[in-house]
């Protein structure tokens, strides 16, 4: 049928739906729904990791294969450093920039290396906002409780307490750098309510929060003259043979040469895994989200946490074809947008946590109440015109300019017509296990941001990622800088790799896979 004919049911049922209140699920119903429909519980997609620090732990097949993969480096490769620095930051997104700026600000020499350009990351795409408890009726403790509930009580309490308590100071730092958060008439920060949160707590820059923060941080990294290595993909870490991390080897993607960097501390801020397309899901992630940091730290002996759980953002675009997987911001639901099935019914409280909302969308589609596209996809409607009906004409255009433009390019007016959505692979809930200084169990190896694990438990709350990046980017940068004076540059060896290879051999690893992946293979090979 014509898409406009199918959309009629959304328009027709709008007024009736506006009077409805959908209660949140009880804890028991919520668990049952997730176990039945959330992709994290599809047993066939998982297998145990055969060796290494997380031997026997289950994760998705795509990730297990890469973790067990071999390094592209040979034991006899030349390790004379091309660069020597105090702090080596790997990754140019939010966490990497925050880490480099704080390390530099504390008086250390820092190098920031990234496999694409400075700033090319998921951070730049964050639309929903950043959770910080600034409202008088809110508190860091309430932020803690909300996050814990969202994470199914499995969040690391120490990490979480640090994040919520340092949030307000992060907001101040960003404002001093010139970030333009939305304000109330009295000059105070405007806060919006996010899914799974009991209080309005999202700081926003319209629907460009990540872009605005990253524009400023990138500019600041350049202003501070921090040395950059762009188009340099980390392919192996270096160790001193005594369990400490001492540097990294990069591949220059322009000329394929190796670059060896010696450092007193290494901060991995390499982001997530969306481009592994786990379970065949489309993704909202950037081109480089291939989990490189997980592979590198795993070979080094760092333990991973919660790597069996991923976040499928409820609203990824399903139509038009060009936007498949692209994110439709949760902000739409924060402002009252309904999710509507093919029968014109709501089926979930739209502001429940992401895992619950995603599971319910998958349930609707699996049980035949979805809307299908001819490319074999299926989804439910997100009633965007409802926002104009509810809050006055022009609301969608004013509050979601980025999204309006994105769909307008393909002739779709989201303030007039609902959009078709289905969960999209969005975030890696777990990652490399860290302590409150953002350090792993490998000395002088820090991990910050999405690549790290423990903070978010089994489901990250909306708006907590931007804060995570800033807080743990800062803590890793400051801790690494604090050690600069007291430690000497260690030897550069590949002993960890020899150990990893010996273990792989013992377990008969002959998969032939080389990791990290660096970039997904989208180029068509046959004509």
């Amino acid at each position: 049928m014509d898409i406009h004919a199918l959309q009629q049911i959304v328009h027709k049922t709008r007024d009736a739906r506006r009077k409805q209140t959908i209660p949140k699920f009880s804890p028991a119903d919520r668990d049952q729904l997730i176990h039945k429909h959330h992709p994290d519980f599809r047993a066939s997609a998982y297998r145990p990791i055969r060796f290494g620090p997380n031997e026997g732990d289950r994760t998705v097949v795509e990730l297990a294969t890469l973790l067990e993969g071999d390094s592209p480096i040979q034991s006899h490769d030349e390790l004379t450093p091309h660069h020597t620095t105090d702090v080596l930051v790997i990754g140019g997104g939010g966490a990497g920039c925050a880490a480099a700026l704080h390390a530099h600000g504390a008086g250390s020499n820092a190098i920031l290396a990234t496999k694409l350009r400075l700033g090319d990351s998921n951070s730049v795409m964050a639309q929903g906002g950043m959770q910080i408890s600034v409202a008088p009726e809110d508190s860091p403790v309430t932020h803690f409780i909300d996050t814990l509930k969202g994470g199914h009580m499995e969040n690391d309490h120490d990490l979480l307490k640090v994040m919520v308590e340092e949030g307000p100071a992060i907001a101040k730092w960003l404002i001093e750098l010139g970030v333009l958060f939305d304000r109330q008439a009295d000059g105070n920060l405007h806060v919006k309510k996010g899914g799974g949160s009991s209080k309005p707590r999202l700081l926003t820059c319209s629907d460009y929060t990540g872009l605005e923060i990253m524009r400023v941080l990138k500019d600041e990294v350049i202003n501070q003259k921090i040395q950059l290595l762009e188009f340099a993909a980390a392919i192996e870490l270096l160790s001193d043979g005594e369990g400490n991390c001492t540097g990294a080897i990069f591949k220059d993607l322009d000329n394929q040469r190796h670059i060896v960097v010696a450092a007193k501390s290494v901060i991995l801020a390499t982001g997530g895994i969306g481009r592994l397309h786990i379970q065949g899901f489309p993704t909202s992630n950037h081109y480089g989200a291939t989990g490189d940091g997980l592979c590198l730290s795993y070979r080094m002996g760092a333990k991973l946490a919660h790597i069996d759980t991923f976040q499928y953002h409820p609203s990824g675009a399903v139509y038009p074809e060009q936007l498949i997987g692209a994110l439709v911001t949760e902000g739409i639901r924060s402002e009252g947008g309904h999710l509507v099935n093919a029968k014109g019914e709501r089926f979930v409280n739209e502001l429940d946590t992401r895992d619950v909302v995603s599971s319910s969308i998958i349930r609707e589609c699996e049980e035949g109440r979805g809307i299908r596209t001819m490319s074999g996809r299926v989804g439910v409607w997100l009633d965007t015109p409802l926002l104009d009906a509810e809050h006055g004409p022009g609301t969608v255009e004013k509050h979601f300019p980025a999204m309006v433009m994105q769909f307008d390019r393909f002739g779709i007016n989201i303030s007039k017509d609902p959009v078709l959505i289905y969960p999209t692979l969005h975030y890696q809930n777990g990652g490399v296990k860290i302590d409150t200084n953002s350090e792993t169990n490998v000395k002088n190896l820090f991990v910050a941001g999405e690549a790290s694990g423990g903070l978010h438990g089994r489901n990250r709350l909306m708006g907590n990622s931007l804060l995570d990046l800033m807080v743990f980017g800062k803590r890793s940068g400051l801790t690494a800088a604090g050690r600069t004076g007291s430690i000497k540059q260690g030897k550069l060896t590949l002993q960890h790799l020899d150990r990893f290879r010996a273990e792989a051999k013992k377990h008969g690893n002959a998969s032939g896979v080389i990791s990290p992946m660096i970039l997904p293979a989208y180029t068509r090979k046959v004509g």
Partner: protein, 236 residues
């Protein structure tokens, strides 16, 4: 489970993709109509390293020049956000060596005057409007440059909130202004120097420093798993 066949969106372009002929950096290629410019490059067998970033229209890495069939007008787009059509010709924009001024944002004494020291070319705009026409985000760039020069930093910061820093406004400028960099400076100055300090934020920071939440923390962190779960359930 059976699905009602009426709930399927018509997509003739998906059922039977029409192949179209396009030119990528001067080289002809046959690709399915309607895929994005980036996907067309992958379809044509090209490895793309430089020129791909977020794939969501936010990072500005994939700035591209294109022209449609028989139209002399060269336009700009973000390659991840633009669908190909028959007869289209495109080339990705190489990195452009625009000069970025460096500054300590906090230490600026008179940001509106400092603009002329940092970007002395900014007031030399000759009103050709090429920057506005080059902007894939539809920002009125020329107007923004003038507003910056006249000290209306607030308007500039609002107009350029959509700016993805693709830099396509810079190569076309006959006065060698890089409008995106000027606007970035202006926006940061607006945020750091001309926006009210949020009083509530300072209050909250002080409350945390003064240990105002310590009693509550102590209570919560001492709870066992069951008590904590029960406590969480009371927070709605």
């Amino acid at each position: 489970m059976a699905q009602d066949d009426t709930n399927v969106i018509d997509q003739p372009e998906v059922m039977k993709p029409r192949m179209v002929t396009i030119e990528i950096a001067g080289k002809k290629a046959e690709v399915p109509e309607g895929i994005t410019v980036i996907k067309a490059m992958w379809y044509a067998g090209m490895d793309v390293v430089r020129g791909v970033g977020c794939l969501g229209g936010f990072c500005g890495a994939c700035a591209t020049y294109y022209r449609t069939k028989d139209d002399p007008k060269v336009r700009t787009c973000l390659a991840c956000q633009m669908a190909v059509q028959d007869g289209m010709s495109f080339t990705m924009m190489p990195p452009f060596p625009a000069r970025k001024a460096t500054y300590e944002i906090q230490k600026l004494q008179d940001p509106k005057q400092d603009l002329f020291n940092l970007y002395p070319e900014a007031p030399l705009c000759r009103n050709c409007n090429a920057c506005t026409e080059a902007c894939p985000q539809k920002i009125d760039v020329r107007e923004g440059v003038w507003k910056a020069v006249f000290g209306d930093f607030k308007s500039v910061s609002e107009m350029f909130m959509d700016c993805v820093m693709c830099g396509m406004c810079a190569p076309v400028c006959i006065a060698d202004i890089a409008p995106n960099l000027v606007a970035l400076y202006v926006s940061r100055a607006q945020g750091a120097h001309f926006t009210d300090k949020p009083v509530g934020l300072d209050t909250r920071i002080k409350e945390i420093q003064d240990g105002q939440f310590d009693a509550e923390w102590n209570k919560i962190l001492k709870m066992n798993e069951k008590e904590l779960a029960e406590h969480c359930a009371t927070v709605k």
